[in-house]
């Protein structure tokens, strides 16, 4: 598939979705649909979709122990083993999983193969992807946690603390949140990485760009709503709490930009269970991450094994003993 075709196809879909909500809320005025029905529908698809997908995964047997190792495994007592890179017990697996989920440890090991002087293949460390990946995920998390101010009353104090530190520099009015800047920059990097590096451009599919564009569109519409086309947050909170307590009602005066933001979030929620974004629960199901390297201590039973019909030598001998004796063959039992 042509690389630029992928970019434009994804961009076109995201613009189309934006336009759908713009027209649906503005001229058509279907605020009830965009403010109540679609969010509920999206929530149902999101939760049911993820749970179903997880159960499907959990039904797949793991025939071999294929954990990956990055360090000395446990063997003789005087050889120092590395229980994080080559875990031999559950604690090691938990430690490795924790570092993977919270610090993206295997992405940190990302290397880049280059032809150095004299056509020598060298591997250099390539940490930009790790850096922007982790910035992206943590700023996303911070933004979502800050949004809890719309969904909780009274607010948990950690939400206030996060907002306080996030707006620490009190730039502009309303204060620009640092995570908003980091979020857009990091998502922008993840996009540019795909178009600028030829190998990655060649590998990228519309679905790779679609997730990025959708998330960027959510971020941009949110920042525009905060800094440029302001909406009445009192009414936003009324709507959000109404949805959360199953007493949905559409307050009258929220600006259209809010419904665009909300609709794009709903699209993301609906898309999530069917997309590569499922890497979030997926990491816990990766046999290379979640299995201990204990092949020599614990026998890994292939759950696929069906009872094989065997015919042991004893049974064979029982069956043919007379004939064997008759031709003078040695037998174990007389």
């Amino acid at each position: 598939m042509n690389a630029w075709y992928s970019v434009f196809a994804a961009l076109f879909i995201v613009l189309f979705l934006t336009l759908v909500s713009l027209i649906g809320v503005g001229p058509v005025g279907a605020k009830g649909i965009f403010g109540i029905y679609i969010p509920y529908l999206a929530a149902v698809v999101f939760f049911v979709g993820i749970v179903v997908r997880i159960i499907q995964w959990a039904k797949v047997p793991v025939p071999f122990n294929i954990c990956t190792t990055g360090g000395q495994g446990k063997s003789l007592p005087w050889i120092k083993n590395d229980n994080l890179d080559c875990p031999h017990n559950t604690w090691g697996v938990i430690g490795r999983m924790f570092l993977e989920v919270f610090l993206f440890r295997s992405l940190f090991r990302n290397t880049k193969a280059q032809l150095g002087q004299g056509a020598k293949l060298t591997f250099a460390s390539a940490k930009w992807l790790w850096l922007f990946g982790i910035l992206f995920h943590y700023s996303f998390l911070t933004i979502v946690l800050r949004h809890l101010r719309f969904f909780t009353e009274p607010m948990p104090s950690f939400v206030q603390w996060i907002s306080y530190f996030d707006g620490f520099f009190e730039l502009l009015l309303p204060t620009v949140f640092l995570t908003d800047i980091v979020f857009l920059l990091a998502a922008g990097y993840l996009f540019l990485r795909r178009v600028v590096i030829p190998q990655i451009r060649y590998l990228s599919l519309p679905s790779d760009y679609f997730a990025l564009f959708l998330i960027l569109a959510i971020g941009i519409s949110g920042v525009l709503m905060r800094q440029v086309w302001k909406v009445d947050l009192l009414q936003v909170k009324e709507l959000a709490l109404g949805l959360a307590s199953f007493r949905p009602a559409i307050p009258q005066g929220i600006g259209d930009i809010f419904y665009i933001h909300l609709f794009l979030v709903c699209c993301l929620a609906v898309y999530f269970p069917f997309s590569k974004l499922m890497h979030a629960p997926g990491v816990f199901f990766s046999p290379t991450r979640n299995l201990a390297n204990n092949n020599r201590m614990v026998r890994h039973i292939n759950p696929w094994n069906y009872p094989v019909k065997v015919h042991t030598y004893e049974e064979y001998e029982d069956e043919y003993r007379e004939k064997m004796k008759a031709v003078g063959l040695p037998v174990d039992k007389e």
């Binding site: 939760f47 993820i50 749970v51 997880i54 159960i55 959990a58 039904k59 797949v60 047997p61 793991v62 809890l148 101010r149 969904f151 909780t152 009353e153 607010m155 939400v159 206030q160 907002s163 306080y164 009190e170 009015l173 309303p174 302001k230 909406v231 009445d232 947050l233 009192l234 909170k237 009324e238 959000a240 709490l241 959360a244 307590s245 199953f246 007493r247 005066g253 600006g255 629960p281 816990f284 759950p303």
Partner: protein, 130 residues
């Protein structure tokens, strides 16, 4: 399903965390804060819908205009004139900050630092009240 114990615990944690907005308020209807509006006035500086969403922008323009240009007179879209002042104009009508500005701000986790320096009529020098 393999490892069903662990998988089910994982699913329960996922649902519990993401459903926080639903269980946090225990389905109770939350009443938005009651704002005390001026009794003797009918109209804010600009249209109410604009004030609700963009009063901070107006204050920012006022501040810049006063501090940088020394221009203190604001002419509203209805042609009325106002002295561009946080304490002397906004709080002349909205007399108690606690029952108006603060109620709304606390409800939405907004903490303007204006009151580090500016003094609201009633809470003289009690420090930052958020």
């Amino acid at each position: 399903m393999y490892n069903s114990g662990k998988v089910i615990i994982g699913i329960i944690i996922f649902l519990a965390v993401f459903a926080l907005p639903i269980w946090y308020n225990r389905g109770a209807a939350v009443v938005p804060p009651k704002l005390e509006l001026p009794k003797d006035e009918k109209q804010c500086v600009e249209a109410t819908a604009y004030m609700k969403a963009s009063h901070m922008e107006m204050l920012d323009t006022w501040r810049n205009s006063v501090v940088r240009d020394g221009a203190r007179v604001y002419v509203s879209t209805t042609g009325k004139t106002y002295n561009m002042s946080l304490q002397n104009t906004c709080l002349a009508c909205h007399k108690t900050k606690e029952k108006f500005c603060d109620r709304c701000h606390n409800y939405l986790d907004v903490a303007p630092d204006c009151w580090d320096c500016h003094i609201a009529p009633e809470v003289k020098l009690t420090g930052r009240t958020k």
